[in-house]
């Protein structure tokens, strides 16, 4: 629709400078777009009501001030006017709004299980565990999806309430302990869509980002094949040494690297750590320097996070980074 393009252009200055926008109005895919249309309708309705009411108030003031009639002579009863403008007209607007909303809700709720991909999203303080049932793929803070295919998200919690929100792909769904909630998304074109935790979940709620990476089906299939493999064996000597440092460190009590004895289940699976775009749920980029800083001083980067500082010598750290950097 052309008008949507115009409206987006109008809001673009606010989003200027973003590499990836999180605008609910710049929606992609069949779950996000109907809601964006609904949003524009509601904005138009709200704007019209605000303008009309303000004008009515100003007219009332302007008109009334010109009146020469003494107030006691003015007919007191305007009940019918109040009923028309206060009950009937609002009721029509509200009923229309409700019906459009229900229509959109029904469209979003229709079952989309045929050929759907299922992804499990598990909220932790303060990161996301992502699992692909039946493939062995376990990753963190990054959901890869094929374009043009419905993806059913099964969301659950490892601790407190969180909420999955990827604004460009549709509305949020809370992650509620004790239940599995469902929502489907779909991306019609490749891209990286930024998401976040939307339910206050404690100290580091602000740093609980999520990326949805939509790829062409073939690229996605390759990604799944790669991610389902155990970690590659380290080749160069620094990495071999680094693996030994890692396996001897306290890291293994919390982290898993498939194909090694590291089987911790508290923190993110690190099997293909180097293939991810960010670290610490989007708090820092996935670079060697950032990773080193995170290992030795996680509390400085994300105060209150459950990642402790790992006591390592400089040489040990360099070796461990060499190892972690080749986990592709």
């Amino acid at each position: 629709m052309r008008w949507r393009g115009w409206m987006l252009a109008a809001t673009a200055p606010w989003a200027a400078g973003c590499t990836t926008t999180m605008s609910t109005l710049d929606a992609h895919g069949s779950a996000g777009r109907p809601v964006a249309d609904l949003a524009w309708l509601l904005i138009a309705m709200a704007g019209a009501v605000v303008v009309a009411s303000t004008v009515a108030m100003l007219v009332a003031l302007f008109r009334a001030r010109r009146t020469d009639e003494a107030p006691e002579r003015i007919p007191v009863d305007r009940t019918r006017w109040v009923v028309v403008w206060g009950v009937v007209i609002p009721a029509i607007i509200l009923a229309g709004t409700f019906l459009w909303g229900t229509h959109t809700l029904a469209a979003l709720s229709a079952s989309r299980t045929a050929n759907a991909l299922t992804v499990e999203v598990i909220g932790h303080r303060w990161w996301w565990e992502i699992r692909y049932p039946g493939t062995g793929v376990v990753t963190a803070n990054e959901i890869h999806i094929p374009t043009g295919r419905h993806v059913r998200l099964l969301v659950r919690s490892a601790d407190v309430i969180h909420s999955v929100w990827v604004p460009q792909l549709g509305g949020k769904i809370d992650v509620v302990p004790g239940t599995v909630n469902r929502r489907w998304v779909e991306a019609d074109q490749p891209g990286v869509y930024r998401g976040t935790c939307a339910e206050y979940c404690g100290a580091q709620h602000a740093h609980m980002g999520l990326l949805v990476v939509a790829e062409a089906p073939a690229t996605f299939a390759a990604w799944v094949r790669q991610e389902s493999r155990p970690a590659p064996a380290p080749r160069d000597s620094a990495a071999v040494h680094g693996e030994r440092v890692f396996l001897a460190s306290p890291c293994v009590t919390c982290h898993t690297i498939r194909g090694t004895p590291a089987r911790g289940a508290v923190g993110p699976d690190l099997t293909h750590l180097a293939s991810r775009r960010t670290l610490a749920a989007g708090a820092i980029p996935n670079t060697k320097g950032a990773l080193g800083a995170w290992v030795v001083n996680a509390q400085g980067i994300k105060p209150g996070s459950l990642m402790p500082a790992v006591p390592l010598t400089g040489a040990e750290l360099q070796a461990m980074l060499a190892y972690l950097e080749q986990l592709r």
């Binding site: 606010w14 989003a15 973003c18 590499t19 926008t21 999180m22 605008s23 609910t24 109907p34 809601v35 609904l38 949003a39 509601l42 309705m45 709200a46 605000v50 009411s53 303000t54 009515a56 009332a60 003031l61 009334a64 009146t67 107030p71 007919p75 007191v76 009863d77 305007r78 006017w81 109040v82 403008w85 206060g86 009950v87 609002p90 009721a91 509200l94 409700f98 459009w100 909303g101 809700l105 979003l108 407190v160 909420s163 929100w165 604004p167 509305g171 949020k172 769904i173 509620v176 302990p177 004790g178 239940t179 939307a198 206050y200 404690g202 580091q204 709620h205 602000a206 989007g282 209150g304």
Partner: protein, 641 residues
């Protein structure tokens, strides 16, 4: 009952009976509803400033991306206490302040039905507020949000005293709110002046009446939830723990069954202020009074049927959510009625642009903005996008500042002359209004856009690349303007107290009973109990709405100067049926409140000896409070003879 006109020299006996001695003991023991009302107002404004300081810190932290003025922990405490303070310690108590001061004056009574309970409710309020704020002194302020969702607020995830301050503080404060509500309801039902039948009730009172009834049904849900959370945290229970058969969402249901009606608790009396003030400055009675009164009551009732719209993203079944969505649409209609009535009142009146009226006009705009964004978030798929985003922050601040703060400040300009006897400066008032109005919109309007651009709530910082920096900086600048406006208002109150022009009895030419009294009113309120025969006792010569009845009598009526007495009347028609004896000043309300504070401190620490001492002290104080006075015993003996 003697019916006579009282001349000035005859009120000496009334003065001696009702005047509180100007001593420390008198200050601590007074039950005068006017002094209690002023205390409520002053205390609520102190909490408004505290909540404002918290908001200022929040806005400073969010002014730019990636700022580190506040730690994550402190930020979380500040936004939690900002919400708790504004909703529980400012917005509701400030309205209780006006209600306390004016309730008996509006109905021609000499005090509230339970004057000592009134004093008690104030002392509990201020002690509960202090209790909550001592959490900052030990560095463990509540940090789970004002909504305190479990399981984050369980001991496993938030050890420490933070949430114990929250649960105990709200239980403590709930006592004050509940007894206050009972007092308003009983006073309204029993103490209206003869002839002030229910259809002649000043419109303001419908708001507080509805609110008071709502409190009685809503507060138990919050209190139960707080008790359950306290037991989960301290006694190893599992009400909200799904692993042990509890339910996470149970807390949300209980909290919002309380929480949504509470929103109406803090706005309906303020809408009552608007319905009071607009007609005075439009110089004509409120249009469609019966519809406005009914819509107030309807909002209060419907307010109990919309709570799940706070939980649309929680995974409830679509069909149940649709009912709540529909109810959220329906509840907009009574607001539409009120708005149409206000516009019609201005339309058919002859408005005079004084400062109180200016605040009402500002309110009308903010009311519509907050109202339509409320309808928007009532639409489920849209709510999935914007809930827990800054869009909702924008919505709720338009509702709470627009429908609470603006009417309250407007009502201060309107009613403070009655309370202090001095007018406020029109010039400073206009400055205060425009600064507040512009500051409010610059601060909160961009938040709608930020929410649509994906900024979630309750984040202590945001990344540079998100593109939210400009709007956030704009908002923080708006906050400075808004705060300046509030400071100008407070300064204008100070100036008025020092050298405001004398107000006289009825500076605005208003229509209700309080304006028949001198400003400030005497301790006994009415020298004679008036007889009311219309909705506008002071406008009868102008609007003639007493119909075929004789005019109201404000200067002739029962004197009742043989002790603290007022007239008791019937519920609907206000036929006089009894002369009621009122209790006098007493220290026991304060001592009882202190004893309860002791118990809550004991539970907080936790310390068995302190708790037991507190509980024992409560029982002792209540016995002493209720112990019949000698005069009552003598009267009882005479009656039985």
């Amino acid at each position: 009952m003697t019916t006579e006109t009282v001349r000035l020299q005859d009120v000496g006996q009334l003065e001696r009976t009702w005047e509180t001695p100007r001593t420390i003991r008198g200050w601590l023991s007074t039950v005068d509803h006017k002094r209690i009302g002023v205390r409520y107002l002053v205390t609520a404004f102190v909490f408004l400033l505290l909540g404002g300081i918290e908001a200022g810190a929040i806005r400073a932290q969010l002014a730019r991306p990636e700022l580190h003025l506040l730690s994550a922990q402190l930020y979380n405490e500040l936004f939690t206490m900002h919400g708790v303070t504004m909703l529980f310690l400012y917005a509701a108590p400030v309205l209780s302040g006006f209600s306390n001061y004016f309730w008996p004056l509006l109905i021609g009574a000499r005090d509230m039905a339970f004057p000592r309970l009134n004093a008690f409710s104030y002392w509990v309020f201020v002690l509960a507020g202090i209790f909550l704020y001592t959490s900052f002194l030990v560095g463990q302020a509540p940090n789970g949000g004002w909504f305190a969702y479990t399981p984050l607020t369980e001991a496993a995830y938030t050890p420490g005293l933070n949430l114990d301050y929250y649960t105990l503080g709200l239980l403590f404060l709930g006592i004050s709110t509940t007894v206050g509500a009972i007092n308003f309801i009983v006073t309204l039902i029993t103490l209206r002046a003869p002839g002030l039948s229910i259809n002649r009730l000043p419109i303001f009172m419908w708001g507080t009446l509805t609110t008071s009834v709502s409190v009685l049904f809503a507060m138990p849900a919050l209190s139960a939830a707080c008790v359950m959370l306290f037991l989960d945290r301290r006694a190893g229970m599992h009400f909200f723990d799904p692993a042990a058969g509890g339910s996470t969402l149970l807390w949300q249901h209980l909290f919002w069954i309380f929480g949504h009606p509470w929103v109406y608790v803090v706005v309906l009396p303020a809408m009552g202020l608007v319905s009071t003030i607009i007609p005075v400055f439009s110089r004509r009675p409120l249009v469609a009074y019966p519809l406005v009164a009914l819509s107030t009551v309807a909002t209060g009732i419907l307010g109990f049927g919309v709570w799940a719209h706070h939980m649309f993203a929680a995974g409830l079944p679509d069909i149940s959510m649709s009912f709540f969505s529909a109810a959220s649409m329906v509840i907009a209609i009574p607001s539409g009625v009120a708005f149409a009535a206000w516009i019609a009142t201005i339309w058919t009146g002859r408005p005079t642009m004084r400062v109180p009226f200016l605040f009402m006009l500002g309110f009308l705009v903010l009311f519509v903005v907050g109202g339509v964004s409320g309808v928007m978030v009532g639409v489920i798929p849209f709510d999935w996008q914007v809930t827990d985003s800054y869009f909702v922050v924008a919505h709720l601040h338009y509702v709470l500042l627009g429908i609470n703060l603006f009417p309250v400040v407007g009502a201060c300009y309107y009613w403070l002359p009655k309370i202090t006897g001095r007018m406020l400066s029109e010039r400073l008032g206009r400055w205060a209004f425009w600064l507040m109005f512009i500051g409010m919109n610059v601060t909160f309007f961009p938040m709608h856009i930020l929410g649509l651009l994906g900024m979630p709530r309750r984040i202590y910082t945001y990344p540079l690349g998100a593109g939210w920096g400009t709007l956030n900086l704009t908002e923080s600048a708006g906050t400075v303007v808004l705060v300046t406006g509030i400071v100008v208002f407070l300064v204008s109150v100070g100036v008025s107290l020092r050298r405001g022009a004398p107000a006289g009895a009825n500076p605005w030419g208003a229509s209700t009973l309080e304006w028949s009294l001198p400003s400030p009113p005497p301790a006994y309120n009415f020298a004679v109990i008036p007889t009311v025969r219309s909705r506008h006792p002071l406008w009868e010569d102008r609007v003639g709405d007493s119909g075929t009845h004789a005019p109201s009598e404000l200067e002739r009526g029962a004197v009742l100067d043989e002790g603290r007495e007022t007239v008791g009347t019937t519920m609907l028609d206000a036929e006089p049926v009894a002369v009621l004896r009122m209790p006098g000043d007493s220290l026991w309300p304060l001592l009882t409140a202190l004893a309860i504070a002791l118990l809550f401190c004991g539970l907080l620490v936790p310390s068995v000896p302190i708790s037991v001492a507190g509980a024992t002290a409560i029982i002792a104080c209540v016995i002493a409070w209720l112990w019949p006075e000698r005069a009552e015993l003598r009267a009882g003996a005479e009656n039985s003879r």
